[in-house]
Point group: C2
Chain length 224, copies 2
DNA sequence: TACCTGCAAATCGTATACGATCTGTAGCAG
DNA sequence: CTGCTACAGATCGTATACGATTTGCAGGTA
């Protein structure tokens, strides 16, 4: 075999992570160690390690002597995740702004135009969310602080796992989102100062969150 | 035995974490699974899990088929850690500000006075750092978002592990620090708005970082 | 019917055993 | 003396086996 193929624990990690993000494992599903081990043709030990890694990312809940379940779409959890992402991504975007090249700027504009077209014609929440991630990735991906970059990635992973794309529930938010993207790009292109860009990027995400919360408040009586 | 004592993996985790924060394990030390397992009278499996957990917190570095070492005092890592903590703690402090009770405020003032006394009389960096953590904990501990609170805690853990208390290298920073604490308390007591408190708390930590960087730049020729 | 008791199945937690990989060193060739 | 090779020790990676805990259900009792 290859001298440095991934360790089995890594394989298991990727497998389960993919299963969660693609929706093969639905929130609430149980993740039985032995079952997954059989599927991958390995013993339970590496699988166990993979599950625990996912646990620290809050992608699965783990109860001792009972087992692991995929973390559910708890509205409270959604709020916490979005808030954390607003914080980290906002900072990250602001700090990367001076480093954004003309080329990257163009790329981001292109993605945003695709999003605009999608909104106008046949809106598909999943595709929109995917483009949305690409758009933001382009703006923060070159962050110099690996810790913060890692936090941003974890946030996106968690959102993907929740599959609770706000745009599914609140399509109208997509329009504002595209407009805010354009504004953000303008700020970056103009070389706006750090705090301006940070709060723009942060509020952009918080606005999406609030759109969801407003929508949710109308469809349930439970206040959270 | 107790029906639900900690699992051995948890015991191992706590043991090694404590070893790192207390300095029993120094940065750069190797953490050999079998050795630790013997010390704790358990097999290597739980120890392995504990080490990997510490790895995701960036407290140890792990190389496949080689082993784990305690993360060293890399100035670059220190900067990244402090920057991340500035971000998360600043936000956390700002969001908790409206919830801070009169009682908590008094407690924080008391701690800060102890710090002031320490600076005036026999300055001890370790004690000062400990009080510093207590001071800030009081202000953010009731944060509603567990994700962010967790990030703050991880930051502090990492700092404790690095043991690279800025105040050891730059004692003069301690004086400014106490003054900034007082300012921060005043802002909270006066009910200053969110962004004011956030940037005050963030900059307070960044100032400590910069004090360290300036000091370090003078004592080495390596620019980073 | 409602509730308690006890057993059995499922599942996780850990120990032990063995194979895989890396690192350092001793020995040999040039 | 220098550089390469081969071997031995150390350490991790994983499989297998067994014990511990939880859960659910069946059966009995009030």
């Amino acid at each position: 075999m290859q001298p440095t193929g991934l360790s089995k624990a890594d394989q298991a990690h990727q497998h389960v992570l993919k299963g969660i993000t693609t929706g093969h494992y639905q929130p609430g599903d149980r993740l039985v160690l032995s079952t997954i081990a059989d599927e991958l043709g390995m013993s339970v030990v590496p699988v166990r390690e993979a599950i625990r890694r996912l646990q620290t990312d809050n992608l699965v809940q783990f109860e001792r002597n009972v087992g692991a379940t995929v973390t559910g779409i708890d509205p409270v959890e959604y709020r916490h995740t979005m808030e954390t992402l607003a914080l980290t991504e906002g900072y990250s975007t602001a700090q990367c702004a001076p480093l954004v090249t003309q080329e990257t700027l163009e790329k981001a504009r292109g993605i945003n135009e695709q999003m605009r077209a999608l909104v106008a014609h046949d809106f598909a929440p999943e595709k929109f969310t995917e483009l949305n991630e690409q758009f933001h990735s382009a703006l923060f991906e070159h962050h110099q602080n690996p810790h913060i970059l890692d936090l941003v990635h974890r946030g996106w992973n968690r959102l993907a796992a929740l599959r609770s794309s706000t745009f599914s529930f609140v399509p109208s938010r997509a329009i504002s989102s595209v407009a805010e993207h354009e504004e953000l790009l303008k700020l970056i292109a103009d070389g706006a100062e750090f705090s301006i860009i940070e709060s723009a990027a942060r509020n952009h995400r918080l606005n999406t969150l609030h759109a969801y919360l407003d929508h949710h408040a109308k469809s349930t009586t439970i206040d959270f």
